[in-house]
């Protein structure tokens, strides 16, 4: 099973790369001239070269050779040169990607945990007052991430000053592995993480609730009661099985969370990929846009694989299938 998933991700990666290669070459008109026209003021030779490379113009090669060349460049880690920053895309990304991975990783794990635990309780204590959480969570799920971020930033950051905002750490500490910095990192991360968790928790919560309700109707849960186990253990019996579909969906949800989280970064001025992507889009910095897209896709695929491994560990039935 794991092998199947791995090959799926490889195919997906190939599709993403190929789309990335083809899109600029399918653009009508002469984008180079347009772009150069937009870059008012002095256009360096480097910039023109970067644009030409990105669009595959002026290479005097057929599409196939260009494609091969494109792969070559990718494999050596060359993602082209940013038009506006005039630096290699890969080095731009290197400084931004860890922030994004950290923020989204922490938020996703937290959201999954919080949602799963509350969903478990909602499913078990169905019909209790806890049920009023459902419409509330549904509402937060429907609010666009960036809007929630803006409101949260405004209310708790700018007005109430409960949380520090803008950026990933206080300007007064020097980055490094010491307590002040880590503390500052956590403090600055709180609001963005809360925003992402609030927006994404409802999915986990409702999915888990529905699965719990389905599980409670299973015989083995009744048997857990018949065995005289304390309620906590009975709930665990049901939850241990109910969580499996959630974990199976984890890999699919990561893509959605990433999409939303990129915008949260934007709102909070977090130095991750989101901010970079917006800048790139506004400046029509195509090599950068493409680089970001590729890196995001690859990261998401890697996260998917991780989630699949997790599922593999949790469900013994998949393991035997693979063994047999």
């Amino acid at each position: 099973m794991l092998l199947r998933r791995l090959s799926l991700y490889l195919v997906t990666a190939w599709v993403a790369i190929t789309v990335n290669f083809l899109l600029p070459r399918m653009m009508p008109g002469n984008p180079v001239q347009q772009l150069i026209g937009k870059l008012t003021g002095q256009v360096t030779v480097q910039q023109v070269r970067a644009i030409e490379l990105a669009f595959g113009i002026g290479l005097h090669q057929n599409l196939w050779d260009q494609y091969i060349g494109y792969w070559h460049q990718l494999l050596v880690g060359n993602l082209g040169v940013s038009i506006t920053l005039s630096t290699p895309v890969s080095s731009v990304l290197q400084s931004a990607v860890p922030w994004t991975i950290g923020l989204i990783g922490v938020s996703t794990i937290l959201s999954f945990l919080v949602g799963t635990v509350t969903g478990t309780l909602l499913g078990w204590f169905r019909g209790s007052r806890l049920d009023s959480l459902i419409p509330v969570a549904t509402f937060f799920q429907a609010v666009p991430y960036f809007f929630l971020g803006t409101v949260v930033l405004l209310v708790f950051g700018s007005n109430l000053h409960w949380f520090p905002v803008l950026g990933a750490y206080s300007q007064s500490v020097t980055p490094g592995w010491h307590w002040d910095f880590v503390f500052s990192l956590v403090r600055y991360g709180e609001l963005p993480v809360i925003t992402i968790v609030l927006s994404s928790v409802a999915g986990w919560m409702l999915g888990m609730r529905n699965m719990m309700i389905t599980m409670i109707a299973e015989d083995f849960v009744l048997m857990a009661v018949a065995k005289g186990l304390p309620r906590r253990k009975v709930i665990m019996h049901a939850a241990r099985n109910a969580v499996l579909p959630s974990v199976a969906n984890l890999s699919l949800a990561i893509g959605l969370v990433v999409s939303g989280a990129l915008l949260v970064e934007l709102v909070f001025n977090y130095p991750g990929v989101g901010d970079l992507l917006l800048q790139a889009v506004l400046n029509e910095d195509y090599p950068l846009i493409q680089g970001i897209f590729l890196v995001i896709t690859m990261t998401v695929l890697a996260a998917n694989l991780l989630a699949d491994v997790f599922y593999f560990v949790l469900d013994p039935r998949t393991r035997t299938e693979a063994a047999v």
Partner: protein, 377 residues
């Protein structure tokens, strides 16, 4: 004897009765939508004895035992009666017997009794075992919950010992349920049910999902285990011939009512209720002569509609006017203590020949001797 204990008899009978079900009613749904699935049932399970419960699908056998142990799921509601469990109190030093009213028990009281005094085995062991937990975990959990003093190694040892009782190797403890065959799973469930030396083990069609050979093996094993450990048992099945081998008494249920109660051999050799006769005719004989199998014509009544008279009257070959207007009650038939709910026996002269056979003598060994300590089979 499931004679209703009168006050004077109570003390003597209490020593004998493990589970007493009196005037027990169970509904599905409430208010106007309620459907009576168990209707004024009286039964008792005696110490170290096996009560067999037989009846067609939908006759309320499972409902009866789940409700009696308070395990019945919604929309099931217990709408009347009493259920009490008598057991040797493990907490008192002089091993006094204690009686608990199961219908009045608090959740924590029930939890303490469950599995340590009453355990249950379901029809499908695949669904009864948690699919993501190892077999060993199930044993460990039960033992650590009810025997907090036991150490991990002791628990493991006990689990291995229990598995060997049902003929399984201890290496199965590391397996997951889906890695075992149906028969193995059911054996695991039986071993698990015996883990805490309960007073009463309830088996709800434990062998129905298995092939005939495995079914036979497991029933034999059960008989041996019971003889060895002396627990009481309720064994539910729709296969009467299986029950005759295992049960001391048999109750036959139809549409939520117990229509006949008798010692196993009496019932098997000499049924007194037309429905019992029909059931016997539709199940393969225990041994010897081949017999033509005939099903019972018609199908069980729709419980959501009120039934006038005897619930079996429209399928009964011997029905007469009274049957469709008045419901018969379960009454003692003769001095052997057997009971039947049928109007036919009001006038002994008119009882059809098929329902007045004399009980043949024991078709099996040991089952009817009062003490079951000696070997069976």
């Amino acid at each position: 004897m499931s004679e209703r204990p009168t006050t004077s008899e109570a003390t003597t009978l209490e020593d004998d009765t493990v589970l007493a079900i009196e005037d027990f009613c169970v509904d599905y749904g409430w208010g106007d939508a309620a459907v009576r699935a168990v209707n004024h049932v009286n039964l008792s399970v005696r110490r170290s004895r096996v009560l067999g419960v037989a009846g067609e699908s939908g006759s309320g056998k499972s409902t009866l035992v789940y409700a009696a142990t308070r395990l019945l799921r919604p929309p099931g509601v217990i709408s009347g009666g009493h259920v009490s469990l008598t057991f040797d109190d493990p907490t008192s030093s002089d091993a006094k017997r204690r009686t608990v009213d199961l219908l009045a028990a608090t959740p924590s009281e029930l939890r303490a009794i469950r599995w340590s005094q009453v355990s249950i085995v379901l029809q499908s062991a695949l669904n009864a075992l948690n699919p993501v937990l190892r077999i060993g975990h199930e044993f460990d959990e039960v033992l650590s919950t009810h025997r907090p003093g036991m150490k991990k190694a002791q628990r493991r040892e006990r689990a291995a010992e229990l598995l060997s009782l049902v003929g399984l190797n201890a290496d199965r403890l590391a397996r997951f349920p889906h890695e075992l065959s149906g028969g193995q799973r059911q054996r695991v469930m039986i071993a698990l049910a015996l883990a805490l030396d309960p007073q009463l083990v309830i088996m709800d069609e434990p062998t129905t999902a298995l092939d005939v050979v495995t079914q036979r093996e497991i029933v034999n094993e059960l008989a041996q285990l019971r003889a060895r450990f002396g627990f009481s048992m309720i064994f539910i099945t729709h296969d009467l011939s299986l029950l005759v081998e295992l049960a001391d008494d048999i109750a036959v249920m139809y549409a939520g009512n117990v229509v006949e109660w008798a010692p196993a051999n009496d019932l098997y050799g000499a049924p007194r209720h037309p429905y019992t006769l029909g059931l016997l005719n539709s199940s393969p004989p225990l041994s010897g002569e081949r017999r033509e199998l005939v099903g019972i014509a018609g199908s069980p009544p729709d419980l959501s509609q009120p039934i006038a008279g005897c619930s079996f009257h429209d399928r009964c070959p011997f029905a007469f006017e009274k049957c469709s207007s008045q419901a018969p009650e379960l009454r003692v038939l003769d001095d052997s203590g057997r009971k039947v709910a049928c109007w036919l026996h009001d006038s002994p002269a008119d009882v059809p020949v098929a329902l007045r056979r004399r009980p043949r003598d024991a078709t099996r060994v040991g089952a009817q001797t009062p003490s079951n300590a000696e070997g069976v089979v």
